[in-house]
């Protein structure tokens, strides 16, 4: 009946014939959520069906995500997501690099908030090897991770609104992102791929200029958020585009394993910062915004309020950093890099530095731990297994975008074509970490 099943794909497409064949076959044969949600009888296929291939290159700037959708007019009946267009195999690379050498690769996972990925990796290795981190380093890490969270949410908002049609918000949010980049530049030396966090602490302390820049940012940023709220919160167009779109109940999101603002927008009170506090999150005062509606508008509010809460946390960290002084990295030579002064001016320091780069942290053989943080997108965790050497035996990356994209496949079915951009934006995937 469908011309697709009669087409011999191996001739038409010159590349990946078996892959596309399997993909389209899955599209034909899958039971749509729509079909099984009714009385169980298969839906009557209408004549006007069209298979549309969206991506992997497309104007929605969330990355190389390919959606193959079967359309009935404007309604998406079934959809199959094809990812892997950005797959590098960093889990395999991790098995060939020492724990510290792998740090730059974590930057490139969720590249909208690289500092948080670094911190997640450091915490996982520190848990594996039982390394203690000095207090000042923990406050610095927390402050920079919250800045990274703001940075990721700013892109989400800018790009989400740009894809929906309002391009000027993109320009506004990017201006504030440039301020955050200036902070990262000053503190960590790089704008985007920072790799500032080290196993056992952070690389360098924050100097006066950096503190000044952060303070300035926290003074100016809340007004910007207020201006966006004034623009968007009661904006009829924005509300109409988002209300009721991508509705998921609390049971749905838990069953589908979604994470981050997708969980909290549907009323599930789960945030790793409260669930298993890491760094100093149990010593700062902040709330976790939760909404119960479960649609795209609820997730928008959750992310917006998370940005405001992050500013609160950063202010508290700045206060604490005035009083908490001390080293920014643990002193144990087998656990962390020595201070650069020692490396340049003492023999032991030089040898420690060399051995740490060569051998690295050597956690106990057979040890396996999982440590998760609350990234901007959700639960970012690393499950590390050690074989006693400085190289991980297995480094499994539990990336939130991967788990959230499963939910996108469910959300797309039954939606309209015009809402697709909003749906991708509300799930907020970053393909760099979804594809590992």
């Amino acid at each position: 009946m469908s011309s697709i099943s009669q087409t011999d794909w191996s001739e038409t497409l010159k590349f990946w014939p078996r892959h596309n064949e399997a993909l389209y076959k899955r599209l034909e044969t899958k039971h749509s959520w729509l079909e099984t949600s009714g009385d169980g009888a298969p839906a009557d296929p209408l004549e006007h069906e069209m298979v549309l291939n969206i991506g992997p290159q497309h104007p929605a700037t969330h990355g190389v995500l390919r959606c193959v959708v079967k359309l009935d007019g404007e309604t998406i009946e079934r959809s199959v997501l094809d990812i892997g267009y950005l797959h590098r195999g960093i889990e395999k690379i991790a098995e060939n690099k020492t724990y510290q050498e792998f740090m730059p690769y974590t930057d490139r996972m969720d590249y909208l908030q690289p500092y948080a990925n670094n911190v997640a990796w450091c915490l996982a290795v520190e848990k594996l090897a039982a390394i203690e981190v000095p207090e000042r380093a923990q406050w610095i890490r927390m402050m920079m991770s919250e800045l990274a969270r703001i940075s990721a949410h700013l892109i989400w908002m800018g790009v989400g609104l740009m894809d929906a049609g309002a391009v000027s918000v993109f320009l506004c949010t990017f201006q504030y992102r440039e301020d955050i980049y200036a902070i990262f530049d000053e503190v960590a030396g790089a704008r985007l791929t920072v790799s500032h966090s080290r196993i056992g602490g952070v690389a360098t302390d924050v100097n006066e200029t950096g503190i000044g820049l952060i303070k300035d940012f926290t003074d100016r940023f809340p007004e910007a958020v207020e201006s966006w709220e004034k623009l968007l919160n009661r904006n009829r167009i924005w509300i109409d585009r988002n209300v009721g779109i991508g509705q998921m109940s609390a049971d749905d999101v838990v069953r589908m394993g979604l994470t981050g603002p997708n969980l909290r927008g549907s009323g599930v009170a789960h945030d790793i910062r409260r669930f298993e506090p890491y760094l100093k999150y149990d010593e700062v005062d902040f709330i976790i915004p939760i909404r119960t509606e479960g649609d795209a508008l609820a997730r928008y509010f959750v992310r917006l309020e998370e940005m405001k809460e992050s500013v609160k946390i950063i202010r508290q960290c700045l206060e604490k950093l005035k009083t908490v002084k001390g080293p920014v990295r643990t002193d144990d030579a087998k656990r962390a890099y020595p201070n650069k002064d020692e490396v340049y001016y003492s023999m032991e320091g030089l040898i420690h530095d060399f051995m740490y780069t060569d051998t690295g942290v050597a956690p106990p053989k057979g040890a396996a731990t999982y440590h998760a943080i609350e990234a901007a997108k959700g639960e970012l965790g690393f499950y590390l297994q050690s074989d006693g050497t400085g190289y991980p035996w297995r480094a499994r990356m539990n990336s939130p975008s991967f788990t959230n994209l499963q939910g996108l496949e469910h959300l797309l079915e039954g939606a309209h074509m015009g809402d697709m951009v909003i749906l991708i934006g509300t799930v907020d995937p970053v393909l760099g970490e979804a594809d590992k």
């Binding site: 395999k92 390394i131 838990v254 394993g257």
Partner: protein, 231 residues
């Protein structure tokens, strides 16, 4: 460091080098792990599991406060159902495979389960033999396992019986290997993934480095050759 007092002229035997890592005993590491969390203290759940499934629960590893329970491969669905329905671990945080590279029971699949209301985490693992390479699927209990099991199949080759959509996740179906197996080389197998043609009507290239072997793709329109060019 005491080693620095030794004369540099006498080479040391490798075993006496101060940086030789003596593997730390896991038990000693547990006691003072600063990152151990309260959520992974699930000794009562493990006891309940042992009571319910006493034959199937094979091993328990406690490290850094985390409890990892090894169960029989056939019992995993029942274990998951027990934990999900009776103990409240209804959220699947992660599922993945590990290549242990041992003669027997080469592969391991781990399941990280979370009890959101109770604030608890537990890990269940099963072992998969290299000859059978199959495991039962848990998508009936945790629909979130769908893509994770596909990824496990893609990376290791472990098929999950009863999975609704057992396709590869990241690599194209044309790819014949399973990359995260320990014997798969990091740089891949040349020719396993063809490169696109170098002109619109050309053929796929099996060589991963055509530019280095002298086949750079031609530009589609003529260019000015300047005096500085020396190709």
């Amino acid at each position: 460091m005491s080693s620095m007092a030794d004369s540099p002229k006498t080479p040391k035997a490798p075993s006496t080098l101060p940086f030789d890592f003596v593997p730390q005993e896991p038990e000693t590491a547990v006691a003072n792990n600063p990152h151990a969390k309260a959520t992974t203290q699930v000794a009562d759940v493990v006891d309940a599991l042992k009571a319910h499934f006493d034959q199937s629960v094979r091993d328990l590893v406690v490290y850094a406060g985390e409890h990892t329970v090894l169960v029989d491969r056939e019992a995993i669905v029942e274990v998951c159902r027990f934990l999900s329905e009776e103990k409240g671990f209804s959220y699947l945080a992660d599922l993945g495979g590990i290549d242990r590279f041992t003669e027997e029971e080469r592969y391991e699949v781990f399941y990280n389960l979370v009890n959101i209301e109770g604030g608890k985490r537990i890990r269940i693992t099963i072992r998969v033999e290299e000859d059978t390479m199959t495991a039962p699927t848990v998508t009936g209990i945790f629909p979130a396992a769908n893509w994770n099991e596909r990824e496990c199949y893609d990376m290791f080759g472990i098929t999950f019986d009863g999975h609704p959509d057992m396709r590869r996740m990241y690599m194209p179906e044309d790819f014949e290997y399973h990359p995260l197996r320990k014997e798969f080389p990091l740089l891949g197998v040349p020719g396993s993934l063809p490169l696109p043609p170098q002109s619109p009507t050309g053929e796929l290239t099996g060589d991963p480095f055509p530019a280095a072997h002298g086949h750079k793709p031609p530009k589609s329109f003529q260019e000015v050759k300047s005096e500085e060019d020396n190709d």
